[in-house]
Amino acid sequence: MDKIPILRMGPFLLVTIQVDLYDRLALDLESDLIQMVNKTNAAGVLIDISAVSIVDSFMGRILGNIASMSKIMDAETVVVGMQPAVAITLIELGLPLKGVHTALNVEKGMEWLKARTNDIESVNDEDDLIVD
């Protein structure tokens, strides 16, 4: 079964979506991510969608859900790398992704997360590890 890997980097979780998402996969990602936030005490979540060629209303809702769920779990979420055509389509579709913080690329997204969580000390100081 397909699964989207979640990487841990210090106090943050990184997700790079490289495949075409269907609904089940997106829902699994949502629940996996929230579990991981809880398990690792993550302070932030970065979702890279630069390889995603379409975001429809369902996927948009999942992104919004992840952001609000993380928020109440005390973690910030940033979505990075949206393609221009995807942004144009989302607005015309009527989905402005309110409540989801976005950044142009991974670097800017990381900077934002770091600034946002600056005063929070890294809870876990273990080495970076990969978990699925």
Partner: protein, 137 residues
């Protein structure tokens, strides 16, 4: 008059078929040299409609066509299901209305993304939605 050039029929039964459909729509759009933004709009609209078909109609079939009118080329997609049908189409086309738990953007959103949008539904028999996007539309 709109003429049909290439035609393909894709049955939709499983959720993974959605990915397959998106890829086929993309191939058709690339074939007529549709720009990236229009491609993205068309594929997104198709994605919304095929989800509706899965969710409310329990699957169905999709007819993909490359059509031409004068010097314009476009992609026309027809989604047909044999589900319960839509009781009030005007209501279903309203932004934010959903009989399920979704955002209610599917139908009205898809309509905004394409050049031509037609919907017909008969209670107890099913729903058919046809969209058309011109390469330069």
């Amino acid at each position: 008059m709109i003429l049909s050039l290439t035609k393909d029929i894709i049955p939709i039964t499983r959720e993974q078929d959605v990915v397959l459909l998106r890829n086929r729509v993309k191939e058709f759009a690339v074939k007529i040299k549709m720009g990236l933004v229009n491609q993205t709009k068309l594929i997104t609209a198709a994605s919304e409609l095929v989800r509706n078909m899965m969710k409310y109609g329990g699957g169905g079939k999709v007819i993909l066509e490359i059509v031409t009118k004068g010097r314009e080329n476009g992609v026309r997609i027809q989604f047909t299901d044999e589900g319960p049908g839509i009781a009030d189409i005007n209501l279903a086309m309203k932004d934010g209305y959903s009989s399920g738990k979704s955002l209610g953007l599917g139908l009205p959103g898809a309509k905004r993304l394409v050049n031509d949008f037609n919907i017909s539904s008969t209670l107890g028999q099913g729903t058919s939605v046809t969209i058309l996007k011109w390469a330069n539309g």
